[in-house]
């Protein structure tokens, strides 16, 4: 079976290394993957704060295309895209009238047959069973797994992991030889898109996250969301100035950490693209 791939905007731009590492790991485990042809923006926060129909039509178009291209399962690495696509599927399947209306707007049939996976679910399904035997360079570091807000919420719809204190990434990382730490900021807000409009807030919010991870001895922060990664990594200058000290803990995508553990090339995983040097 071929797995569909919906990169969304981040993975084609500021978070290219996320796409690179997802594809590298997927390839290493011989999984067939195919990018959805002619995909569009998921609508992100902008669409659903302005227009409900638009916020449903955009993700629905992506899902319709996936259906049309014969895909049964798609992986959506960006946490925000994943939430938007999942919410749309949930709303449309619940409300047949709305489903018809959206299909009309898109001029594309929509049946809701595609199953949507985030990166953790995809890894759990296709990588975890063989992961331990493939580890050649155990990721022997203390890691703080940071889930952010979008990956596990809203719980009623995503029904993925424990909502207040998720564990799925910790379990996965332990299989690569890492030691996940017990910490209090797993699902705190990183500041999200305030990164651009109010960078100081991101410095404060992300600062608390990085600060707690550092205080508890983490050597790397592991994420599965491009927004989280860019705030914790790219805004490190503001974070450090908020904390009043220099913290050098790198922020890795979980696929990058797995890639390192199974011995993939650092460049293939895009590690050179980070702002905080990855020295693990």
């Amino acid at each position: 079976m071929t797995l569909g791939f919906y990169p969304g905007c981040s993975l084609k731009g500021s978070s290219r290394e996320y796409a690179e590492s997802v594809l590298a790991v997927v390839k290493a485990f011989n999984i067939q993957i195919q990018e959805i042809d002619d995909w569009n923006c998921c609508g992100a926060t902008a669409a659903h704060s302005l227009n409900k129909e638009l916020s449903l039509a955009l993700p629905a178009r992506v899902l319709s295309l996936a259906e049309k291209q014969g895909l049964k399962e798609i992986v959506v690495p960006c946490a925000a895209c994943y939430a938007r696509l999942s919410m749309t599927q949930h709303e449309l399947l619940k409300n047949p009238e709305l489903k018809t209306r959206i299909a009309e707007i898109n001029n594309l049939e929509y049946n809701g047959t595609v199953s949507i996976l985030n990166v953790i679910q995809m890894l759990d399904r296709y990588v975890t069973p063989n992961l331990e035997s493939r580890v050649v360079k155990p990721f022997g570091h203390k890691v703080a797994c940071y889930y952010g807000c979008y990956l596990v919420r809203p719980h009623e719809i995503l029904n993925f992991d424990r909502v207040e204190e998720p564990l799925s990434m910790d379990t996965l990382m332990a299989k690569t030889g890492a030691t996940p730490i017990d910490w209090a900021f797993k699902t705190e807000c990183c500041g999200a898109s305030l990164s651009i409009s109010r960078t100081s807030s991101v410095g404060r919010l992300s600062g608390k996250i990085v600060g707690d991870a550092s205080d508890r001895g983490a050597e790397a922060i592991i994420v599965a969301c491009p927004m989280c990664q860019s705030n914790l990594d790219m805004r490190r200058k503001e974070i450090n100035s908020y904390l009043g000290k220099r913290i050098d803990i790198p922020v890795l995508y979980i696929t990058q950490a797995i890639g390192l553990a199974i011995g993939l090339d650092r460049k293939a995983l895009g590690l050179q693209r980070h702002f905080v040097k990855v020295k693990v």
């Binding site: 719980h155 424990r162 909502v163 207040e164 707690d212």
Partner: protein
Amino acid sequence: MAKIGVFICHCGENISATVDCAKVAEVVGKYDGVAISLDYKYMCSDPGQNLIKKAIVEKGLTGVVVASCSPRMHEPTFRKACAEAGLNPYMCEMANLREHCSWVHEKGEATTQKAIDLVRTIVEKVKHNQSLDAIKVPVTKTALVIGGGIAGIQASLDIANSGHKVILIEKDPSIGGHMSQLSETFPTLDCSQCILTPRMVEVAQHPNITLYTYAELESIDGFIGNFKVKIRKKAKSIDEKICTGCGLCTTKCPNKKNPSEFNEGLGNRTAIYVPFPQAVPNKPVIDKALCTYYTKGKCKICEKFCPAHAIRFDQEDEIIEVPVGAIVLATGFAVKKTDFFPEYGYGRHPDIITGLQFERLASASGPTLGEIRRPSDGKIPETIVFVACAGSRDEAKGIPYCSKICCMYTAKHAMLYQHKVHGGKSYVFYMDIRAGGKMYDEFVRRAIEEDGVNYIRGRVSRVYEKNGKLIVKGADTLLGAMPVEIEADMVVLATAGVANEGAEELAQKLHVSYDPYHFFAEAHPKLKPVETNTAGIFLAGACQAPRDIPESVAMASGAAAKVAGLFSQDELTREPLIAVVNRQAPPVFSSCVGCFLCMSACPYHAIEKEEIKNRQGEVLKTVAKVNPGLCQGCGTCVAFCRTKSIDIQGYTHEEVYSEVMALLND
């Protein structure tokens, strides 16, 4: 030939303002079988009733129709009047002209016509009515009370004091329940043990009460007045008759490090133990799951030291069967543990405790002898945070209801802390303060205004440990949701009150309804708060919903009054409006074919199998039979019966059919 009397009531102007009562009487008077038809201003009044009685005697009526208000209102009145005049009361029926006609329609021809139609249907029904006799069932005047907390204790004492026998069973080694764990009680701050222990002793000494501790309900059979219950007396591994309660065994037992249930895990107990010093009975039991002899095969130190030679390692559970007439359920509640809260660390931090644990810390009989010391290192907390609504009123946690007692005990806890730790800082995070009750709000105000407790309106999103402190993150919603962070030494969660584990199983055993949260359901939320929908089984205390002590006691006394009322009669009289499976002459015996669909449909388990035998004792046919003590006359079986072999007395197929036909054959 039927001779029906029809009596049309004006109900003052309630009916006559829109219905032409005289015309109704006139039209109906011309129907077949109607011997007399008249209208009167107030049929329920004495002169009105006398009209009916007189007509019964003078005209020799075979049936009566009173066309007035709802039968819910006055059916008993008119049936009683008929009985006094010598007519079987079930030959009297009511047509509801008030709620079903005059109150809901404008004055007019059509309204009067509808009134005529309503009366006519009931006239046709009464023609097919049969005389019925009230059902009598004997009563065993012994009550079973399940649960020895304050509710069970109060119910037992009240029933016993009314002169009836009580069997009180308690699953733990001592009675006392949660109330015995409490330090002081709101809103008076009197010591919980001081007011409870005299009652516990009274229970033990009361000549009418038989107390079985360490005992549980095994099974139940029968119906109101005639239950048969089996009680499992768990093996205590001591001979209670010989044991003097000296307590030497508990001091000698080498197996000492077991978390004490009474101290909510904050202290330890031995494997042979008395839960607390004032326990009733004050005799130890051996916890078989923990005892070294039972788990590893050797020890028996208690046996060696027991001066009375009362230890019995070979004792086994005993099951006794007793007949009882009524049951009071007083099984109480439980509180959620701290491991229920991921955002508060899943119970991993020892200094995040429940309200019940705080009670033990504050209690003079507790592990710290009443000093507020945190469990991790025994230090006195300088800053303490109380979180109200921990789990309650939180749909995400699956508990949307209010646990009711937390606002009050949290205020009490903060107050006790301030009284005991001078200079300490206390904070209470709350959603609303629900302090409805006599002297309750005054109590909370006292905590805030006199004892200086800081109340912050907002919820706590997370508690985590950092550098030896507990960081409590929340929001102050009265300051525009301003984020609040408090560095605390101890956090007390007012965790949700929930039904006991096993409540659902017990409810199913007793055929008592329960709500989605496994609290037992009362028969009516306002007017039958202590009854269940199973006759003869009553509720007291927090097994029905979270309740404080005064409410539990009031409910218990209410349930006891119901039991005493039940026991005031030698026989119970019940309305005969129940299902019956028909019986016919041999060789058919009954049109019932024995499919027993009715049995699976009956919500009251009132249907039994009856074997019809010939003189040689051979079974000829197995048919359904309704137990008149259990049947509530709901009619579900009638709808299920494929051969129309079941009828509800008073609402038979024939009677209902004649009503319908009266409408159709205008």
